[in-house]
């Protein structure tokens, strides 16, 4: 009987009793409801991206896996950020193509950022709907000209009397389909220009493209066909004089850059957690294969080219997992326990390490596992390519490109003044 890699007696990452019980609970939920469905979800939505698994989203919501760190007064779970991290890791383990894990991570990280920086009335309006799986709330920052250059954002939000009027275009945004099909609707933590050029002229909004089931005027969405992670839509939208009540401004005008950077730090922890969950699934596929596959009359793991490589990748997996939970513990100190000894900037390096390391490990591992499996892994029948393609998306973008993570680590260690031309 093989014991899955999924059961480390954790010594490095110390979970509370509540978190351990929660992990068992979410693991059982995910194995019962998500694991048997993920291939079907990935396959169906690969043909039609609008085949969004609404039934599973509802189940995830009913299980209390959305808005975990949000206050219970907004219909959140009143949990720790580490609980959200556990939920995402376990969902990704059950759905290594990560569509549902990413749905879950977005709808934990960004509602929580809304709660931290937004108006109370807005949290009261949005979070309960997101928590029940009736609305989506993600992040909209990237534009067609690029994603990493947040300070270069072009979409404008002009204040006219009591409304902001939006013009411009967002691209490669997760949830464009979900906002349209979920009954209440929802939108994004959106960044638009309200002032001067550069990062000091940006504001953040709770941009609700659809609320109470009604899509706002002047909002024109489009859906893309991704190569993987099917079941969560990616799309873009244009705003042509789209109007939003001024109350949906998050925090102060022209401070949006700072809010979104903190939000990115939070969300990146969960992105990295998804890649760690997927990586664990990949490792288990490898171990199972090693225990059955023989070549030249020997188990293939008897070839050191394979077993040593496996050991190296396992080391990276443990490191990635450690980075993830170290960052989430720190997030708990800062945002849940509000420990005055810590401040949000302390998250920069721990989060960048996790977000740099997790996706790269998962992608590298996916490739290796496919090579170990051989030609079978290249057939559509094998599920491994689905995990690999899904996880690969997080080396490309999503809450910050990989080189941005490297930049953050280097900048904070060396000093930004030594890194300019």
């Amino acid at each position: 009987m093989s014991v899955p890699i999924s059961y480390p007696k954790d010594t490095v990452v110390s979970f509370t009793k509540d978190e351990i019980m929660f992990r068992e609970s979410v693991r059982e939920f995910a194995q019962k409801h998500i694991a048997p469905k993920w291939i079907e979800v990935d396959e169906e939505a690969s043909k039609d991206p609008m085949k969004i698994p609404l039934d599973l989203i509802k189940k995830i919501a009913d299980q209390g896996l959305l808005c975990i760190p949000c206050s219970d007064k907004y219909g959140g779970q009143g949990g720790t950020y580490t609980m959200a991290t556990i939920a995402v890791e376990e969902l990704a383990y059950a759905d290594p193509a990560v569509a549902l894990a990413v749905y879950t991570l977005l709808n934990n990280g960004w509602p929580f950022a809304l709660q931290l920086f937004g108006r109370e009335e807005v949290s009261q309006e949005v979070i309960p709907r997101v928590s029940k799986g009736e609305a989506f709330f993600g992040i909209a920052s990237t534009e067609p000209q690029g994603g990493s250059d947040v300070a270069g954002i072009r979409m404008t939000a002009k204040k006219i009397n009591n409304v902001y009027v939006f013009n411009g275009e967002k691209a490669y945004i997760s949830g464009v389909g979900e906002v349209q099909v979920l009954p209440w609707g929802g939108g994004w933590f959106l960044i638009a220009r309200t002032g001067e050029a550069g990062h000091r002229g940006l504001s953040a909004f709770a941009f609700l493209a659809k609320k109470n089931g009604v899509i706002g005027k002047g909002w024109y969405p489009t859906i893309y066909h991704d190569i993987g992670r099917h079941g969560l839509t990616t799309g873009g939208f244009k705003c042509e004089n789209f109007e939003l009540d001024k109350d949906y401004l998050i925090g102060e005008e022209n401070k949006g850059f700072y809010y979104v950077m903190e939000g990115f730090n939070l969300a990146r922890i969960l992105v990295a957690a998804a890649t760690v969950g997927g990586a664990r699934w990949l490792l288990e596929q490898a171990v199972q294969w090693f225990r059955t596959r023989k070549l030249f009359g020997k188990y293939i793991a008897s070839f050191e080219g394979i077993s040593f490589r496996f050991a190296e990748l396992y080391a990276k997996y443990e490191a990635a997992r450690y980075f993830v939970y170290r960052a989430s513990r720190l997030a708990d100190k800062i945002y849940i326990e509000k420990d005055p000894a810590y401040n949000p900037r302390d998250l920069n390096i721990p989060v960048a390490l996790a977000k740099m390391y997790g996706p790269e490990l998962a992608t590298e591992l996916g490739q290796e596992v496919m090579k170990w499996y051989g030609a079978y892994a290249y057939t559509k029948e094998s599920p491994i390519h689905r995990a690999w393609l899904g996880l690969f998306s997080y080396t490309i973008g999503a809450e910050g490109a990989q080189n941005i993570m490297r930049y953050i680590i280097a900048r904070d260690l060396i000093g930004s003044e030594y890194m300019r031309d």
Partner: protein, 316 residues
């Protein structure tokens, strides 16, 4: 221990015979008496075969025993225990038997071991083997009190060749009926006796619909065997009256073929003692492949028909 008295009970005559084998094994080494207890309603004319395998057969046949309840049955059995003063009580570990053994153990304030697969005599004392930790392990145990109550898994011992010529004695006892009423009985279709066949083909979750069991029947027929189900097919889908594995039937045929069986540990615990284990499964990661002599990784819907064809060629 010299001159032991062993009392055996099972609600099924065939399982009583298995207990007779174990009882004989012990009384052959330590001289003693092997007694059988038969209790129930309308059973007294079925006990002749037992007299050929036990020294004495006690029969309690009463309409008051028509409704089964383990506590009632244990209390009735207690009369025979008090009468015969056994050192060892063997009960076959069916669902009914295990509960009777347990209730009797509480009534007599003595030790009871269930899930027993083997009993050894070491220095005139019994070492009792039972499955442990969901069938993953084996525990060697000892009962410290007397009488020792041992509930033996069906199929653990073969049937004996009749050698005795015992006395049958009917007993009348007072029976306190339980305050329980049977509202309805829904019989399960009684399938083949899985633990009596030399070849057992077991269908698992990989078999997509009930009609497909026919294909397995065909395979079993050629090999002179029977078809069984894994737990989900029986308990969840109701395709078979019972299942192979822990809490179902334990089997040890000469040949076991698992078709689309993934091989949960509870299933493995029920087939572990088979002579040859074969599995056919499309999933190379199915845990059953760790326990097989021969494992075929492939689509059962292609492999089984081919296997049937080839076997037909041989067997004509």
């Amino acid at each position: 221990m010299d001159m032991v008295t062993i009392l055996s009970y099972s609600e099924r005559i065939d399982l009583q015979l298995e207990l007779a084998t174990l009882a004989n094994e012990i009384t052959n080494k330590l001289s003693g008496n092997s007694i059988s207890a038969v209790i129930g309603y309308g059973i007294k004319d079925k006990v002749d075969v037992l007299s050929k395998n036990f020294d004495k057969v006690f029969v309690i046949d009463s309409e008051d025993l028509k409704l089964f309840n383990p506590i009632t049955y244990a209390n009735v059995l207690l009369n025979i225990v008090n009468n015969t003063k056994p050192d060892i009580i063997l009960i076959s570990d069916t669902k009914r038997g295990g509960a009777i053994a347990s209730a009797l153990s509480a009534l007599l304030d003595t030790g009871c071991i269930t899930e027993v697969t083997k009993v050894e005599l070491v220095n005139d004392d019994l070492v009792i083997y039972r499955g442990a930790y969901g069938g993953l392990g084996l525990a060697q145990t000892k009962i410290l009190t007397s009488p020792k109550i041992i509930a033996v898994k069906p199929g653990s011992y073969p049937r004996p060749t009749a050698i005795k010529n015992g006395i049958i004695e009917e007993m009348k006892v007072d029976i306190k009926k339980p305050e329980i009423e049977l509202v309805e009985f829904r019989a399960k279709e009684t399938g083949a006796r899985l633990n009596e066949s030399d070849v057992v083909v077991v269908a698992g979750r990989g078999v997509k619909k009930k009609d497909d069991l026919q294909m397995l029947e065909d395979l079993a027929k050629i090999l002179g065997g029977v078809v069984g189900c894994s737990r989900p097919l029986s308990a969840d889908l109701g395709w078979c009256p019972t299942w192979v594995g822990m809490s179902g039937v334990t089997i040890k045929p000469k040949l076991y073929i698992g078709v689309g069986v993934s091989g949960q540990i509870q299933h493995i615990a029920g087939i572990r003692d088979s002579k040859i284990i074969v599995a056919i499964n499309i999933d190379p990661n199915a845990p059953i492949f760790e326990y097989v002599d021969y494992g075929i990784i492939g689509d059962l819907y292609k492999v089984v028909p081919k296997l049937i064809d080839e076997l037909k060629k041989i067997k004509g």
